[in-house]
Point group: C2
Chain length 280, copies 2
């Protein structure tokens, strides 16, 4: 589990690091960012919050823009921001649209050529990255929660739905509710799954809920002025599925907020506190 430290910055008494390792799952180098609190204030092992970012993002967006370190420092959380796709491999069509391919891998395992060799973010996040983090940092993986924004909100819900009991709580900011039924996700269905809708639906949070999967207590915030709300995010589908499955949840519409990281920053603290409550 060789890990290269790319950068490390003191932040709010802890350390905001950027790390790289060679992934056996994706067959590429993978980057992630990870915050550790001040060990003299919060001796480890620390509980872990995963934050998955959206389309076009790298680990840097959440780290730089969301203001998470202040809250993680106070609460004693290790916060991990994975990348949004494999890097360093070029496949035909992987940069044609901002909503597909590089920075847009939807946290799933592709089943179709040529994608299935490298685009295995679901397996990477499920198994390999937690092992890398556990081997290199003082973390307690019995105390985990997960959150994300946009495509990363989809990813957070997906990870929690597919790993019952692993995450104590889940949250999402402006999540893509059902990628198999929105224009952004059409390209992913066509290419990652060669158009096999049934295979794709195995990674669709709303379809998983409809098929009987469950979630821990869930907080969702959605900007009321989000330019992607109606066509892409399809929040009502998620609201109905959560309701129908009896998931304990709070889905809040936030008037005036758009899809940007200013929205994420505005509610990041509440989400971290919500997640941390179950990680004591």
């Amino acid at each position: 589990m060789q890990l290269d430290t790319q950068k490390a910055h003191r932040a709010f008494g802890g350390t905001q690091g950027y790390y790289r390792h060679q992934s056996a799952v994706t067959g590429t180098p993978m980057d992630f960012a990870l915050y550790t609190p001040d060990p003299s204030r919060h001796p480890g092992p620390w509980p872990v919050v995963w934050f998955l970012s959206g389309l076009t993002c790298t680990p840097d967006n959440f780290v730089v823009k969301a203001g998470s370190q202040r809250v993680a420092a106070e609460l004693g959380l290790c916060v991990v921001a994975p990348d949004t796709s494999p890097r360093g491999v070029d496949l035909d069509g992987d940069s044609e649209h901002y909503w597909f391919g590089k920075s847009a891998a939807y946290y799933l395992d592709a089943s179709a050529e040529p994608w299935k060799k490298h685009y295995r973010m679901f397996s990477y996040l499920s198994q390999e990255l937690p092992q890398v983090v556990e081997a290199n940092f003082s973390v307690d993986l019995e105390r985990q929660a997960i959150s994300g924004h946009s495509m990363g909100g989809h990813g957070a819900l997906l990870m929690a739905l597919k790993h019952p009991g692993r995450f104590k709580r889940v949250s999402a900011l402006a999540p893509i509710s059902s990628f198999t039924r929105c224009p952004w996700g059409e390209t992913a269905v066509e290419r990652f799954f060669a158009g096999d809708l049934v295979a794709a639906e195995a990674y669709d949070p709303v379809r998983l809920l409809e098929a009987g999967a469950g979630l821990p207590r869930t907080l969702i915030d959605q900007g009321g002025s989000d330019q992607f709300l109606t066509e892409q995010l399809r929040t009502p589908l998620l609201a109905a599925a959560l309701e129908s499955r009896g998931v304990k949840h709070n889905l809040r519409m936030q008037p005036g907020y758009d899809h940007s990281y200013f929205f994420v920053a505005s509610f990041c603290e509440e989400h971290l506190r919500f997640l941390a409550e179950a990680l004591e």
Copy 2:
């Protein structure tokens, strides 16, 4: 005072805007960012905090990375982040070094050709930008304070030294103490002033203090692991000048912190609270 809104995002209940106007002083378009709190929570007119950024920056760095909006929203501050140089004019040598020219105008008025026509950030910040802000937003310029990072820390001290009584308090994060005596500033002395050291020293905070100028109560934080501390920032010169002039100040060394915006973000809240105390 025509002002174009480039972008506006809801953030922490207020509005983070990006604006552009045509400057008569610099003869170029000028950008700035400005946060206004939620008027239903804090009815205007609002006190104003100016935050000046460092080398390589645009108004975006502070706005995106420092986490200022949360604190400004709570305290009811209008926070203005000006640009770091004129834009849209190309002069020979303005992009040769990151420490001179575009994004590196040192908040002064150049006296030498070809710079003196456009590189007039001191006059721009002293007169024109406050007028533009006052004409377009509900602000109270009787209640102003100023802060900045690196070259912007130099700028904040400079502005306060040259405008006695205008700013109730001043603060700086890792300021360039004496640009006429550091390698970064050598290019500015050579080009903006054709090597006239005396002319340049009229914009050098330490030299102004030595010449008898005063400051309101001042807070300065400096990272102890800042890679620029010894050669460029020359904090001991500033410490001695503040001491010698009897300025009420608190200059704190912060062990482990570097020169990045993670340092700025870590102490931004304290600086805003320190400034706001005098703006009630």
